[in-house]
Amino acid sequence: MTDTISEHADQSLHEGEALVEMKEVGKSYGAIRALRGVNLTVRAGEVTCVLGDNGAGKSTLIKIISGLHPHNEGTLKVDGREVHFSSPREALDHGIATVYQDLAVVALMEVWRNFFLGSEMTTSGIPLSALKVKDMKRIADEELRKMGIVVKDIDQPIGELSGGQRQCVAIARAVYFGARVLILDEPTAALGVKQSGVVLKYTAAARDAGLGVVFITHNPHHAYLVGDHFVILKLGQAVLDRRRSEVDLDQLTRQMAGGDELTELSHELQR
């Protein structure tokens, strides 16, 4: 299946090339500063893990990259050029696709409709022209099969698939439509062990195909399995920013669990 990802992935991607660069990026919602001074580089063929507790600014960060909310401090560069996204469509046009944990798919719609949502194939450019239903069903089924996701019936509502499979369909869809940067928002948070494994393998496959992956999670174990670079956010700021060689799982886990705060707390609670 890695072959199919490579097949669709942008051939011009070079490993290590910076796809997205954030410099001193900040974002305020009214009087509240959700994010400040964050530096983050997403490189081709690498998984950048963004870790953090609830409210640490993870969501804000990905909303900026994926075009849902524009940033209001610092610079965001894609392929070396400064950008300011005002809609997810713009981000998608730059090859940045986001797979959200809970809103990845439309549950009541068929698998193939979900697969092509927003990038439908039509017979002509005229408004209200016919969808290429047969082609769309065939391609969706083939692509999913190649990637190891077997659906009994491509016509079944996607809500009938398991959570892990739904995530995988969303990832497969993003890759098929030429994503160069893949943002995964807590893809394993709602999944069991086995389903998480499926998603993690998939993440690794996307990385091996040369895509730049941003993996958002609050599970350091999952992050350490696939990550090349780790950023921990706390209260809107980066408290740790290291390459894989500079950090081990214990440090990550400790930082995630609260770091110095945890030490302090353990003193306070000592009996």
Binding site: S6, R89, Y100, G148, V198, K201, Y202, A209
Partner: protein, 354 residues
Amino acid sequence: MSQTSEKQALGAPAEDTNRVQLGFLNRALARPEIGALVAAIVIGIFFLVVAPPFRSAESLATVLYQSSTIGIVAVAVGMLMIGGEFDLSAGVMVTTAGLVNAIFSYQNNLNLWVGAALSLVVALAIGFLNGYLVMKTGIASFLITLGTFFVLQGVNLGVTKRVTGSVSTPNIDQMNGYSQLQKVFASTFQVGSVNVSITVVWWFLFVALASWVLLRTKVGNWIFAVGGNQASARAVGVPVMKVKIGLFMTVSFLAWFTGMHTLYRFNTIQAGNGVGNEFLYIIAAVVGGTLLTGGYGNAIGVAIGSFIFGMTSLCIVYAGWDPNWFRAFLGVMLLLAVLVNLYVKKLSTSRKVG
């Protein structure tokens, strides 16, 4: 690059084996219009038995006409509901459209086509405003259009009284353009010995078009998506705002169309008309299998829902019963439909692993 390819038996093909193919009955039940179709057949047979006047082609034509008067707007309301929104102003908008045409043309002594065009612009503007306000403010469409509903209701009566001195418009059948417009919106034609209203043809046409749009076009895909999961639709690049405003404008366009029919059929419009019809549209859509919460339904179902409405409203009269029972009947139908919908939604969202 591909070192992982050998060890990757991704996904879980094993799940293939523990998923069962649903039986034909279950799959049929999962279609939105099935409940309505069964109900229509049962009710039809019932009235054929108890209401002898119903057993004629003429009655069928009348029932179809009655259905079309609700069905044309109901199709648009159904699409809007699939898109996850409500429009409570659709009923009075029909009257507004007729009033604008009649009053503007009459007062300025202009060709009725000019009034009809202006009326279309006004209707589309109201639809746009409904959609724009819903999208910009994020307030539930139920509330926004409830506001529009009251505004239009008041304006309809206020303006008509002020301009004409009464609550109805003057007769327009001697004005320029009347005969053509009457042909388009309110003529009848012969099929054998039966008179069929042109609105029945328009109704079928709009249902067919809506069905095509919903199931076979990109826009249709987007309508289901914005109704089923708006955030997800936006994230994959669906222009949510355009789709929803377009849906509100579709409702107002077909409300205008029905307004034109009312005006050219009776040559005058009562300013207080249309109140309450917005609920009939919603009931037709829900009885036809449209989910109240959006993302599910189809045009044929809404048409069947409208047909049930038309059939019942007339057959209660054919059966010689007190017509007041009609409303009670509609209420029961609505409740049953909601129950069926709930069951259907469960059926299609739960994982059915054998």
